[in-house]
Amino acid sequence: SQKIEQNSEALNIQEGKTATLTCNYTNYSPAYLQWYRQDPGRGPVFLLLIRENEKEKRKERLKVTFDTTLKQSLFHITASQPADSATYLCARRPNSGYALNFGKGTSLLVTP
């Protein structure tokens, strides 16, 4: 079966440091990977999309990499702030069908 896996452990870091979250997938390499942020009691909010032919993508303090050899995407938040504390979800589309296939998410806590 097609799986997408994220760090199950919560990530605690100090304000100002870089947070790095990992997303691993099995079987085929998706054409696209998406990253979402989810706050408690709210729906996921889209952050970034990276295509398989893009090694890296940036948006403000966010950076996503995509390594099809390792079957892995890394999500970085530089100069982290307490407001970045949330759960971050990695998602891909399967080869057939329309739905997003999400990982469990990684909880990030940034402390002052």
Partner: protein
């Protein structure tokens, strides 16, 4: 409206009751998705509509789950004879175009269903 809205935000049902959850997508969005999110898990796909057509219902866990979008805008997810394992947050998402792989999905706040 400005975003996807869902109602009710919270629903408590006794086991065996029927429930109906509503989703108002962003105006003009062709695609509409329903997901189920258990505590501590990522969203799991339930069903997909393109306008009024239900193109994928492969994620519906049983025939007690039914979804419709009769006029291609508002959608309702109905769960009959609710069971405790149905307790979860039900998320609705919409996207502008017809389910392309790079589509951005816009999620509503979800309905938290608790079955006692």
């Amino acid at each position: 409206g400005a975003g996807v809205s869902q109602s009710p935000r919270y629903k408590v049902a006794k086991r065996g009751q029927d429930v109906a959850l509503r989703c108002d997508p962003i105006s003009g969005h062709v695609s509409l998705f329903w997901y189920q999110q258990a505590l501590g898990q990522g969203p799991e796909f339930l069903t997909y509509f393109q306008n009024e057509a239900q193109l994928d219902k492969s994620g519906l866990p049983s025939d007690r789950f039914f979804a419709e979008r009769p006029e291609g805008s508002v959608s309702t997810l109905k769960i009959q004879r609710t069971q405790q394992e149905d307790s979860a947050v039900y998320l609705c998402a919409s996207s502008l175009v017809a389910g392309g792989p790079s589509d951005t999905q816009y999620f509503g706040p979800g309905t938290r269903l608790t079955v006692l």
